[in-house]
């Protein structure tokens, strides 16, 4: 049974994500300080910054899991502070800070989340994801018995269960070996190409950002320190890699002209 309230259409032409003067202060610490940006539909944007730069807090506020002290967040044209439930079925996320029930098997976990997201053809969807993410042999194993790399693939399967239009990834390859990390990146690229989804990716892995992102927003101490395509940032800073740009910004060696 489903008792549905009347649906208001989301703004079809609005950017996928719009953030305006977003600020989060915890007592004396300002974690995010008047951050503004918008993310075009179908793009992959990297939120780049060191530890404590405000990446996770920004993503948390975009998801509505963290309430901003001030500012606005819109996702697919919907105000996340007032009406986030209108778009939650069209979004998803993956984060190293959350996990899935350990005693449930991978299949059971995906089934529960599939039902929460209202997926009609759930068995087929789980089969497709299992095939795409090489989970077929893991489906009937308890999630708690998986290796870090396997868990990441399961978390990615959960994040893709509803084929989200907006996918938020918080350090999706943190603590993975290079081979698994590369495998995950390839899958993110494939998903984006196939679905046209918008992806916002927080990372402090420069190679990952260079490879996946059309655009990079660099955060430093909760503020936007740079916002351009990887190529533009390299040109602007006169560097060969984003890692060097990152170090310049982090250590205050140079400023973007």
């Amino acid at each position: 049974m489903h008792i549905a309230a009347p649906q208001r259409p989301c703004e079809p032409t609005a950017p996928a994500i719009e953030v305006e003067a977003l600020t989060k202060a915890y007592k004396r610490l300002v974690a995010v300080d008047h951050v503004s940006f918008s993310v075009a539909r179908g793009s992959v944007t990297g939120l780049l910054g060191g530890n404590g730069a405000g990446k996770t807090t920004t993503i948390g506020m975009i998801m509505g899991l963290i309430l901003p002290t001030s500012g606005k967040v819109n996702v697919l044209g919907v105000d996340m502070l007032a009406e986030r439930h209108r778009v939650l079925a069209r979004m998803n996320f993956e984060s190293p800070y959350v996990d899935m029930p350990h005693r449930l098997t991978v299949r059971q976990n995906l089934e529960v989340f599939g039902r929460l997201y209202g997926i009609g053809d759930l068995e087929i969807r789980i089969s497709v994801l299992a095939k795409d993410l090489a989970l077929e042999d893991l489906l009937d194993r308890p999630s708690g018995q998986l290796s870090a790399g396997q868990k990441t693939r399961v978390a990615l399967a959960k994040a893709l269960i509803n084929e989200p239009e907006v996918l938020l990834l918080d350090e999706p390859t943190a603590s993975l070996d290079p081979d698994t990390a590369d495998w995950v990146r390839t899958h993110i690229e494939t998903y984006r190409r196939g679905s046209g989804a918008t992806i916002l990716l927080a990372s402090h892995n420069m190679r990952e950002v260079e490879r996946l992102c059309d655009r990079v927003i660099m955060l430093k101490e909760g503020r936007v320190a740079g916002d351009a395509s990887p190529g533009e940032l390299l040109a602007r800073f006169g560097r060969d890699s984003l890692e060097e740009v990152f170090l310049d910004l982090a250590r205050g060696r140079r400023r973007a002209p």
Partner: protein, 277 residues
């Protein structure tokens, strides 16, 4: 892709959460054993105590008799278990999300707070039934006390006690959500704070006068007084059940508001992404 809209109350999402808890229960025999073990131990302890007191009282001169009607202690214990296990059934299901660091996944999904609460209440009944039902039948077998023989009154007792247990469970869950697993011990102990004032095993009149006023603020007090009235005087006190229900509606409303408030505070504090101690 076939995707149902996220707005409104969805029994499908409630069902998804129930499925999640039932999968968990099924995967863990110790969890099931735990549901039966303590109610059984409690029933046996209080049953034997009741038997001993009844025998000792019968042997005493008339003036010194305790006047224990058959089943007052064991009946009170069984009803206490509804209250205690109902709250645990609610709160432990919630704690499972905190232990597995799954709460952010749920809060980010289309699951609504009301649906989450509904699933927790349903799980509370399921978990309670697994432990409670067999023990009531064993009470007949061991001590000849038939709770079900009290008829419709059992339904009123149950409804009031389970409502209180959900309200307390919801408040505890809110505190854990807000302050993390450091506040977990509240879940296991809070009901024992209520036990002396709710006059589970003795009449309200036993309490000092000032405490009696507090006792009558607690819905379970009315239920346990009602039980004793039924067993000792063979009279069902509908007035007591009505008063308990009014208090329960108030308490549950406060709990829902409190839970929502603490969820808001957790979002404000940024603790949903950092569940743990």
């Amino acid at each position: 892709m076939n995707r149902t809209p996220a707005e409104g109350l969805s029994l499908r999402r409630v069902g998804a959460m129930l499925r999640r808890y039932l999968y968990l229960l099924r995967s863990s025999p110790p969890r099931i054993l735990d549901l039966i073990y303590w109610p059984l131990v409690q029933m046996l302890t209080w049953g034997f105590l009741q038997t001993y007191l009844a025998k000792a009282s019968a042997a005493a001169p008339i003036a010194g008799r305790l006047g224990l009607a058959a089943g007052t202690l064991i009946g009170a214990m069984l009803l206490w278990d509804i209250l205690f296990r109902g709250q645990l059934g609610f709160s432990v299901s919630f704690l499972e999300e905190m232990w597995s660091r799954n709460i952010a996944n749920l809060m980010m999904s289309p699951l609504r707070v009301g649906e989450f609460i509904l699933a927790l209440t349903a799980m509370s009944i399921i978990r309670l039934s697994i432990g409670f039902l067999p023990v009531t039948f064993l009470a007949i077998l061991f001590f000849g006390f038939n709770l079900w023989g009290l008829g419709l009154a059992v339904g009123f007792f149950f409804a009031n006690l389970i409502l209180t247990s959900w309200a307390i469970g919801l408040l505890c869950s809110g505190v854990v959500l807000r302050y993390g697993l450091a506040a977990e011990s509240l879940v296991w102990t809070v009901m024992f704070l209520m036990q002396p004032l709710a006059c589970v095993f003795y009449p309200v009149g036993v309490l000092p006068k000032p405490l009696q006023a507090f006792a009558w603020m607690l819905p379970p007090t009315y239920v346990f007084e009602g039980l004793r009235g039924l067993l000792i005087h063979h009279a069902f006190r509908a007035d007591l059940m009505g008063e308990a229900f009014v208090l329960n509606v108030l308490l549950f409303s406060v709990a829902v508001i409190g839970f929502r408030r603490m969820l808001l505070d957790a979002r404000r504090a940024g603790s949903l992404l950092q569940t743990g101690e």
